[in-house]
């Protein structure tokens, strides 16, 4: 698919860079947290808070719920730090906690997944006709996201919007890398079908 296929949608800021290798100090930090070291816990919180909130917001769709989820995830880290294996990267372990708890909360609260769609595409003062077209496109895409199976939706959100890599998503969701690829492929097919009427010839 060419890069300008969906040119009706204004370019949003680039997603965060894909996660890098885990910092080497994380096993030591985790060990210090295990001993109750508040300073070590603060370092981990500061390191992961922004990304945690972004993922939480994608999952929950509301700012307040995302904040609650972030807090909940960090507290769960404290409860379960004894189960963290020192030789493994901290990031997938942490995001697994966050995603699982987020999905459980969503089920429990039966939340809407998407808030009112922001007017980010309206910049530049397009004509009313084009504005209406953009609104329609956004609605269609949001609706298509809602039709995706939960796992596919989460994979699309983590990969396309939050910049997680395939192996990292596989570790977060505890599935194989191949399964991530397959779900992403299927999700993209669904989303592209939804966007087909807007494709430039």
């Amino acid at each position: 698919m060419p890069a300008n296929t969906f040119s009706l949608v204004a370019r949003a800021p680039a997603p965060p860079a894909p996660s890098t290798a885990p910092p080497e100090d994380e096993p030591a930090l985790a060990e210090r947290v295990r001993q109750g070291d508040a300073a070590a816990f603060d370092i981990l919180v500061n390191r992961y808070m922004r990304r945690a909130f972004a993922v939480a917001y994608r999952l929950m769709g509301q700012k307040e719920d995302a904040e609650d989820l972030v807090q909940d995830a960090f507290l769960t880290v404290l409860q379960r730090i004894d189960t963290f294996e020192a030789g493994r990267p901290f990031s997938p372990w942490f995001f697994r906690i966050l995603v699982n708890r987020g999905l459980n909360s969503r089920k429990a609260r039966s939340l809407r997944t998407v808030e009112a769609i922001p007017e980010t595409a309206a910049a530049g003062g397009p004509s009313p006709e084009r504005s209406a077209e953009r609104m329609e496109l956004r609605d269609r895409l949001a609706a298509a996201m809602e039709t995706l199976p939960e796992r596919q939706r989460v994979i699309v959100q983590l990969f396309e919007l939050e910049g997680f890599g395939g192996p990292e998503i596989a570790e977060i969701l505890e599935i194989s890398d191949g399964t991530v690829r397959w779900h992403l492929h299927e999700a993209r097919k669904t989303l592209r079908r939804a966007l087909a009427p807007y494709e430039r010839s």
């Binding site: 698919m1 969906f6 947290v33 109750g36 603060d42 972004a54 949001a142 996201m145 396309e160 690829r181």
Partner: protein, 127 residues
């Protein structure tokens, strides 16, 4: 199940971003403080658990000490005690007094310095 290549699709990402919107900015300081406040008690609990307790080791030795005590008691009960000696008669008492007096009469000159060096050596050899 096919496993297509996992490459990012910038156009789809941008379309999704446009549809879903970017995550809003929360009040980071408030969120951070909130996490820190809620983490205070669990962290304190962990610090307390991690602190070494000197009596913990002693407590682990308590069963051993109890077993040793019981064994000592059993051994002392099982060991036959010598029968009580018969009480002293008046004759026995007199004899003991005589012996003590006789020995003191030998030692007195030594203690007072009256005895000669030879007598001292003799007394030492006799004893």
């Amino acid at each position: 199940m096919t496993t297509p290549d996992l490459t990012r699709d910038p156009a789809l990402s941008a379309a999704l971003r446009g549809a879903m919107g970017d995550a809003p900015e929360p009040d980071w300081d408030r969120l951070r403080s909130s996490v820190a406040a809620r983490a205070e008690m669990p962290l304190a609990r962990r610090r307390r658990e991690a602190r070494p307790r000197p009596w913990t080791r002693a407590r682990s030795l308590l069963p051993l000490a109890a077993a040793a005590g019981i064994a000592g008691l059993a051994i002392s009960l099982a060991t036959p005690r010598p029968a009580n000696p018969p009480p002293l008669t008046d004759a026995d008492r007199r004899m003991v007094e005589q012996i003590v007096d006789a020995q003191l009469s030998d030692v007195d000159p030594l203690l007072s310095g009256e005895a000669a060096r030879e007598a001292l050596i003799e007394a030492m050899v006799d004893s």
